[in-house]
């Protein structure tokens, strides 16, 4: 428990630190840590939901053929903006560890969506499905380290939860992906 509270206070402190830093007009851009919720349709067909680390927002599907997005989700399938999935130069490394302890992004070793059927992030590799509650539970300690679509910036990301948006009727309509990420807007691969 002690470890947990220490880590919690550490992360709170670092958040405060980052926030205060981003507000100040300084020349060296500092990494940004955010927790975000992305609404994804409960459907294995149709459009992906695209996300940009740089803009920390979802990107319209109209821009799918651009480097404005870094990764996208459809149901539980994740694509990264590279090769078969998009014109970008994004890549991803999946790694087990503690989010806050990953201080730098590796220089090499990034995987790409080589074809539409061999994606960098294998479906099912990052969550457990509970057939009793139909819950998708992201595996704890699964960290995604991204090189962004422009090929120069880095981000680390972990899922915190996947929930169903309140629904009426036979099937859920929306999955709410809650995730935490740190994006380095400047040069270099440091997350601190």
């Amino acid at each position: 428990m002690k470890t947990i509270s220490t880590l919690t206070s550490l992360s709170i402190l670092s958040c405060l630190f980052f926030l205060s830093c981003t507000k100040e007009p300084i020349s060296v851009p500092q990494p940004v840590t955010r927790v975000q919720v992305l609404s994804v349709p409960f459907s294995t067909r149709g459009a992906y939901t695209f996300f940009s680390f740089k803009d920390s927002t979802s990107v319209t599907p109209l821009d799918s053929n651009s480097t404005k997005w870094d990764f996208a989700i459809r149901f539980t399938r994740i694509i990264v903006n590279s090769q078969a999935s998009g014109p970008g130069n994004a890549g991803v490394i999946m790694q087990d560890g503690i989010f806050n302890s990953i201080l730098t992004a590796p220089a090499t070793g990034y995987s790409h969506d080589t074809t539409s059927t061999s994606l960098a992030i294998k479906d099912g590799s990052w969550y457990d499905y509970n057939p009793r509650t139909h819950a998708f539970i992201p595996k704890a300690g699964k960290i995604f380290i991204f090189r962004t679509a422009n090929g120069t910036n880095y981000a680390k990301m972990q899922f915190l939860g996947v929930d169903y948006a309140p629904f009426t009727g036979p099937v859920p309509s929306t999955l709410l992906y809650k995730f935490e990420y740190t994006y380095q807007p400047g040069a270099g691969n440091s997350f601190q």
Partner: protein, 717 residues
């Protein structure tokens, strides 16, 4: 045959009309008074329970009657170290909202590892490893024997955690028993049991009906938690001694259970009601011929058939069109020859060989021919050191046609160092062959869309799905086309216990350790169905252990009061999880703060559904002369793991646990005259209910029954 029927009718009618109140009523033993019953399950050789070299719990017919309970699982739940657990996943109708059954957890091991025997013969028809004990009417039970620890050396596959042997009434005296029962939730029951013993033959007839209106624990979910059902069962047992030294036993039993299903499913646009029935039939036939050889030896031939079937359907209530139907049938036929030789020294030899076939035909199962098994077993029991030491050594070889032969050894020793003391130690090996579900299940959930495919059916099913375009594009199925399949699970169990007993009290304390290697578990394939949902199959996952302490004591407090206590401390863990914790490769995410940390050994609670502490206290007040008793039992189960919510598939957070609970049952009885007595009770006095954690427990229930009994020890002519 006609002659037999006429004779049978004659026997029954003679009995009913001629047996009047003249018979002397035999006052039932007090609950703790008959403390040393004969047992057979531990070593397959009849012997006093106090002399058995293995931990054995005996529930006598008197004890069952005094609890007033009519369901076997309720009675088992009152025993030390026995937990009734719910299995939420199994073969059930699509959209069926309720768990489909409860199983018996012994020493923290799953229900699939406890072999259930009826008169020494194994029952089949498990759903997700669980055998529905509702198939057995308690009114006809003479004794239930619970032997803890691996017993595959005697009973073969499945007997890894232990064996529960349900022994039905033997026709050893003349008696007539009838009971009428009524209780809350429209529970009604009636039973009749007739036994007639003649010089050459004896006959026992039993008929029983039980019905319940069901109950609803969860108003949020449409429909009842337990749908209304009724059970009809009958048993005929006939023992015939045509010539001296020959004895033939024939027993036929039928159990028929009908449940009315009614629940809500999600139609395309709105919820709709479906309703139908589940019919469950269980038929057993047993034939035994026993021949006392000229020397001391004895030869026994047994043949046993168990045909089990379960068929369910539901249809849309509005249109009457079929919504879903499932069907499961299993048949097992077993023949064996046994040789017993009592030694002059007091020891015994037992040799056994036999053969069985087992077949499942079911919707959702790939077709397969019957599977044959051969087995042979040899046991020797020595009495040493002037009878102060009993040594038992045995082993059994099982060969199922699809697996290599397996040897299960066992050694047990009982030592009587001084008067009133007994110390036992036993070590045994157990195994469980992959069952039909692990091999041949082929199930796709039509509402959610995941698939669960048995290991032996996986290659073909994946090929079929790929050809139909049902798999995720680009899925590489080649590794599963030539998969080696499953290995049997095997395990070891170790038990040491000491017991002290005097005329007024007894105390037993023991420790146990069980390990199961290559436990068969679910895994999800690295690719999905084309709808993005997982495909599951089975594999030999890894090793688990359970260890604990067991304490049982009983004491006569005064002339009328006696007290019985039992306690089990348990720890059951997955060795892979411990290894991953030590390798710092397993994480936990705090469900509230979302902070991820490495999992520690202290945080890891253990396997789900296991309570660290379980115990019970039973108070008995009895005045045999006045024909009255009151029997209060309080059971406790501490918190147990329920399900992972924080992303590591293990139980490591209080929010992943079900809270502990108390259960209390009371029964009181008063004799009216030499034949009639009245019995009443309150089950679940504290009204503990939980729709998920304990759907098998209805709320507080009042019961009342009238019991009629005539008994005689004199054989009639």
């Amino acid at each position: 045959m006609n002659g037999f029927v006429r004779k049978l009718l004659l026997i029954v009618s003679t009995f009913i009309f001629l047996k009047a109140g003249a018979q002397k009523l035999v006052v039932a033993d007090t609950i703790f008074g008959s403390g040393d019953p004969l047992v057979v399950t531990a070593t397959r050789l009849a012997g006093k329970s106090s002399r058995a070299p293995l931990p054995i719990t005996v529930i006598t017919a008197q004890e069952i009657r005094k609890t007033g309970l009519l369901r076997l699982q309720d009675i088992l739940q009152e025993q030390t170290g026995v937990a009734i657990i719910n299995a939420p996943l199994g073969n059930a109708l699509n959209g069926y909202p309720n768990p489909f059954g409860q199983g018996i957890q012994l020493m923290g091991l799953d229900p699939a590892y406890t072999l259930i025997l009826l008169d020494g013969e194994p029952l089949v028809g498990r759903n997700a490893g669980i055998l529905n004990t509702g198939r057995i009417a308690t009114g006809d039970i003479q004794q239930v024997e619970i032997v803890k620890g691996p017993a595959s050396s005697l009973y073969g596959s499945e007997a890894m955690a232990g064996v529960i042997n349900i022994l039905t009434q033997k026709p050893d005296n003349n008696s007539l028993n009838a009971q009428l029962f009524t209780g809350s939730q429209a529970t009604r029951s009636g039973s009749l049991s007739v036994t007639q013993k003649n010089t050459k033959s004896s006959l026992h007839l039993f008929a029983h009906q039980y019905s319940s209106g069901g109950y609803d624990l969860d108003p949020q979910t449409w429909g009842k938690t337990q749908d209304p059902f009724r059970i009809l069962s009958g048993n005929v047992k006939w023992i015939y001694e045509p010539r001296p030294r020959h004895q033939i036993t024939l027993s036929v039993r039928l159990n028929n259970n009908v449940q009315n299903n009614r629940y809500q499913v999600q139609s395309i646009s709105q919820p709709e009601i479906v309703s139908g029935q589940t019919k469950d039939n269980d038929f057993t036939a047993f034939l035994q011929w026993r021949y006392q050889l000229a020397g001391r030896g004895r030869l026994t031939f047994r043949s046993f058939l168990n045909a089990y079937s379960n068929a369910s359907f539901v249809q849309w209530e509005k249109t009457g069109a079929l919504f879903d139907a499932i069907d499961f049938r299993q048949q097992m036929l077993k023949q064996e020859l046994e040789y017993q030789l009592p030694r002059k020294s007091g020891g015994q030899l037992l040799a056994l060989a036999g053969w069985s076939t087992d077949q499942v035909i079911a919707t959702r199962y790939a077709n397969q021919p019957p599977l044959s098994s051969f087995f042979a077993s040899l046991q020797e029991e020595w009495k040493l050191m002037k009878n102060k030491l009993t040594l038992h050594v045995g082993g059994r070889i099982d060969k199922r046609e699809d697996f290599a032969a397996r040897l299960s050894p066992r050694m047990a020793v009982a030592w009587y160092p001084a008067d009133r003391w007994k110390i036992t130690a036993s070590i045994g090996g157990g195994f469980k062959a992959p069952d039909f579900r692990h091999m041949y299940l082929n199930f796709s959930n039509s509402q959610i869309g995941y698939s669960l495919v048995g290991a032996a059916a996986l290659g073909n099913e994946l090929l079929r799905m790929q050809q139909l375009g049902l798999l995720q594009a680009g899925a590489d199925i080649t590794p599963y086309q030539a998969a080696a399949g499953l290995r049997p699970e095997y395990g070891t169990g170790l038990h040491v216990s000491a017991r002290y007993a005097n005329s007024a009290s007894s105390l037993r304390a023991g420790v146990f350790y069980n390990r199961i290697n290559g436990q068969i578990d679910l895994f999800s394939l690295p690719f999905t169905r084309n709808n993005g949902l997982p495909i599951y199959s089975y594999y030999n996952a890894g090793n688990i252990f359970s260890r604990g302490i067991e304490i049982e004591g009983q004491v006569r407090l005064s002339k009328y009061f006696s007290l019985q206590v039992g306690y089990q401390f348990l720890e059951a863990k997955d060795l892979q999880v411990l290894r991953a914790i030590d390798a710092k490769s397993l994480y936990r995410r705090d469900p509230v703060t979302y902070v991820t940390t490495l999992l520690t050994r202290n945080q890891y609670v253990g396997l789900p559904n296991r309570s660290k502490h379980m115990g019970q206290i039973k108070w008995m007040f009895e005045q045999p002369a006045a024909g009255r008793f009151a029997y209060l039992r309080v059971m406790y189960r501490s918190a147990f793991g329920w399900m992972d919510i924080n992303g590591n598939r293990v139980i490591d957070d209080p929010r992943e646990m079900a809270e502990g609970f108390f259960m209390a049952n009371l029964s009181v009885s008063q004799r009216i005259n030499s034949h009639f007595s009245l019995q009443g009770g309150i089950e679940n006095i504290l009204n503990y209910t939980h729709p998920q954690y304990a759907p098998h427990l209805p709320g507080r229930q009042w019961t009342l029954s009238v019991i009629f009994q005539v008994k005689s020890n004199q054989p009639s002519n």
